[in-house]
Subunit: 366 residues, 2 copies
């Protein structure tokens, strides 16, 4: 079986690394030569709207998937003439546009922050009055890692925010005073089989994920069940195939933790990297199993797992590998400020030992 992957970044690279042991072969398409996945598989360098390149890319593939949600929907629709593309284009469309995404949440009864579609400064000013301060203006499309976002603390901020988003179609969202961010990695196979990983707790700095912990500390069965229920609705509505990541805010509601959905990603997700060394089956392997209709693997986490992202620079391998049980994952990228260059996974049978390992790793990052 040969799998085509749109995007040859680190997620594609880790899909290939998880897929080779299953006897799978890979071909990548990416605009950038020398991409992380290109080092270990066939890569076609071309734009996503280059039909001749797409023809070449699709030749002889059994199934196609993608590693980032900004693949043009037209590209996916074109490729579907050759072989199945998973996750389905509907999921891609929803994930590419924050208004479509949040409208889908509302339609399915999944709690989400109040929001307004904004197409002009006037519309922004008008809708600002309906929300309490602070609120957040985000571009509808192409935002990631906190880019294309502006916090509005008073009416005076509106013009600045509108400039921040460069006047493109945007979404104004209610600000949720959340306790923490949690993510749910769910999987649905081509055969309809569904599994859920335990909730992951995520810590960001400067809008970029820095640390993930699983199972999320102080997780309750009811919180897990709530997240699974929301994920299930999305998986079924979208006739989804593959890994679906959903980011939730947890906030306190009369003493109990409640979830509110922030966004989703129709792909393997940074907060799921800890499954490589911490779960029975990694998100990468399960994504491949799902799109091939193979039985899904156990999503159980063995004890306690953590992931620390390596952003902008990478410590000495010697120092990292001196930390007991630290597993290094580098992407083969050149260093640049704010760039995701790798991550370190840790796993332990005790939460205390895991914390000690995380502390050691974070010390190395300064």
């Amino acid at each position: 079986m040969k799998i085509g992957i749109l995007g040859a970044g680190q997620l594609g690279r880790m899909l290939a690394l998880a897929g080779y042991p299953l006897g799978l072969k890979f071909r990548f398409l990416d605009t950038a030569p020398g991409s992380p996945a290109g080092e270990l598989a066939e890569q076609i360098v071309a734009n996503y709207d280059d039909l001749r390149a797409l023809n070449r890319f699709a030749e002889g593939l059994d199934v196609i998937t993608y590693e980032f949600e900004n693949v043009p929907v037209e590209t996916v629709q074109f490729l579907e003439k050759y072989c199945p593309v998973f996750p389905p284009p509907g999921a891609l469309e929803a994930a590419q546009d924050r208004v479509v995404e949040k409208s889908l949440f509302v339609k399915l009864g999944i709690p989400t922050p109040k929001f307004y579609s904004i197409n002009s400064l006037d519309e922004l000013l008008e809708n600002l009055e309906k929300l309490q301060y602070p609120s957040i203006l985000k571009t509808r499309r192409m935002g990631y890692d906190g880019k294309g976002q502006s916090v509005i603390r008073s009416a005076e901020d509106a013009v600045i925010a509108w400039n921040d988003v460069a006047g493109v179609p945007s979404i104004l969202e209610q600000f949720i005073p959340f306790q923490r961010e949690l993510s749910m990695l769910s999987i649905r196979s081509k055969t309809g089989d569904i599994r859920f990983y335990p909730l992951v707790e995520n810590h960001h700095r400067e809008g970029i994920l820095r640390l993930s912990l699983a199972p999320a500390p102080n997780m309750t069965d009811s919180l897990q069940a709530e997240a699974e229920g929301y994920a299930l609705k999305l998986l079924k509505e979208l006739n989804y195939v593959g890994i679906l990541a959903i980011e939730f805010f947890e906030y306190e509601d009369s003493g109990n933790g409640k979830l509110i959905a922030n966004e989703m990603a129709p792909r393997v997700h940074n907060s799921g990297h800890l499954t490589q060394d911490g779960a029975v089956t990694s998100q990468f392997e399960n994504h491949l199993r799902a799109i091939l209709g193979l039985p899904l693997g156990s999503t159980a986490v063995n004890g306690y797992a953590a992931m620390v992202n390596l952003i902008g620079n990478v410590p000495n391998s010697e120092d990292v590998l001196s930390v007991p049980e630290a597993k290094l994952h580098l992407y083969g990228k050149t260093a640049r400020p704010g760039r995701k260059l790798g991550h370190i996974n840790l796993r332990s049978d005790s939460a205390e030992k895991l914390k000690a390992g995380v502390d050691s790793v974070q010390k190395l990052l300064g």
Copy 2:
């Protein structure tokens, strides 16, 4: 860092899969095009005595290793002019010749079956009298998976055996009525750091490894200590760097298990494949760490681990992946009787559950 590997079979392939996450790059040299490792890294197709190809192979490499012990020693010595080659040629020389190997065991006080170097039928007949029947005649060089061996049960078998080994320089060995075969995977880093994996119990059929279990059932601390002691002597004597596998027979000596060394392999070893999913650090990653002088990773086995080899044919992935916790490792080779095409690893917190998993997998193999 770029690693050169002589031999692009499954062991090389799994070294690369373990090394990419460490940010390493790979180049392979093998006589056969389309080799398992060539699918996921640069491969030069050439003979091992092709000096121009060796020049091209060595260019820009930081360190060279090999995945099989029949690499010509001259090739390694030639390559040493460019960069370090590990394990060192002395280990290769010892492992390539059963007489040199067993003489080394004797020199270091490591118990090994009685043996005689045989260069003629007369020599065979003469030495047969000094050993009890049965005894075994093996070619000194190039034997593997039970090939190039002949059991001698009476003086009459001598001529047949001498024909079986085609009259090449051979070794006549005492037959050990052993209870089981155990293997010790030890590692010594370039920095001198040394670690040992728990003893592995191995089951063969038709001379080919079929099943490995770790830790070896009914293992005692004294058995592990005995094996470690022997491995330590070899690691130090050979100034060894990398994974060293030693196969032992366990036999009963006044009610206690005792070890007798059968052979060694200066490379990652089939009986260590279970470390991929059963140990904190796989033998492949630790071999790379050792030859790069990086800190060695924990060799602890998480609970109970097993490996089942896929010989000659491969069951449906769908069936394999239906077995809870079964991890499939295929090598991308075409099927052929007696050929190692892949393996399945299993890991469990209980020996009973592990056994159930192994039984399920073995049922699939028929």
